[in-house]
């Protein structure tokens, strides 16, 4: 299955890229997506979104999902 992985703000800067595409043979969690795509430890306050909805690290990911990692938000 194919998963689009996106990075924003300080996470994007940390990894030096704004996205990856993962080809996975079996079902993955958000944690496994991070481990396979980023291949480093996530900063402690990293937030997760799956298909543009806030999610959590144990969330199971399906084929075609978009997973995003970013720091706490600071708009307004």
């Amino acid at each position: 299955m194919s998963i689009r992985v996106r990075y924003f703000a300080s996470i994007r800067e940390l990894l030096g890229r704004d996205e990856d595409v993962l080809d996975a043979a079996s079902e993955m969690t958000v944690t496994e997506v991070w481990q396979q795509a980023a291949q480093c430890e996530a900063p402690a306050n990293t937030l997760v979104a799956v298909n543009e909805e806030f999610s959590h690290w144990k969330q199971a990911i399906d084929d075609g999902d978009e997973v995003a990692f970013f720091p706490p938000v600071t708009g307004g």
Partner: protein, 141 residues
Amino acid sequence: MVIVSNETFQPWQVLADYERERVGLGGQYGATAVFVGTMRSLNQGHTVEAMTLEHYPGMTEKYLARVCEEAAGKWEVMDCFVRHRYGRILPDESIVLIATWSQHRKQALAACQYIIDELKIRAPFWKQEVTDRGHSWVSPE
């Protein structure tokens, strides 16, 4: 209505244009609450020369619309308007405009406060300041 744009805007002109072009609410509301967020040139004792606002296109608009719907569900507001910048922003430029309309002041004020408070913790924007010490990501309040 929710607008997320990289264009500069004059909040009071935007508000006047929106009220003029909107149809159907004339004479019905007795209260308008407005919040405008503006970029400061000083933050924690350091001069800020500029700021870049990054966002997550799609998710940003979705969450702003959801927060407005929640506000309209909690208080009897007739309309909500949010306009938010992204991209490079200079001191004194507007970052965000929020307006709510209702029959009475308490509903309009509460809804406006709810929208800005929820925007601050749920809308995926990230500020990076350019100060006299270089670039730095802004920490949440």
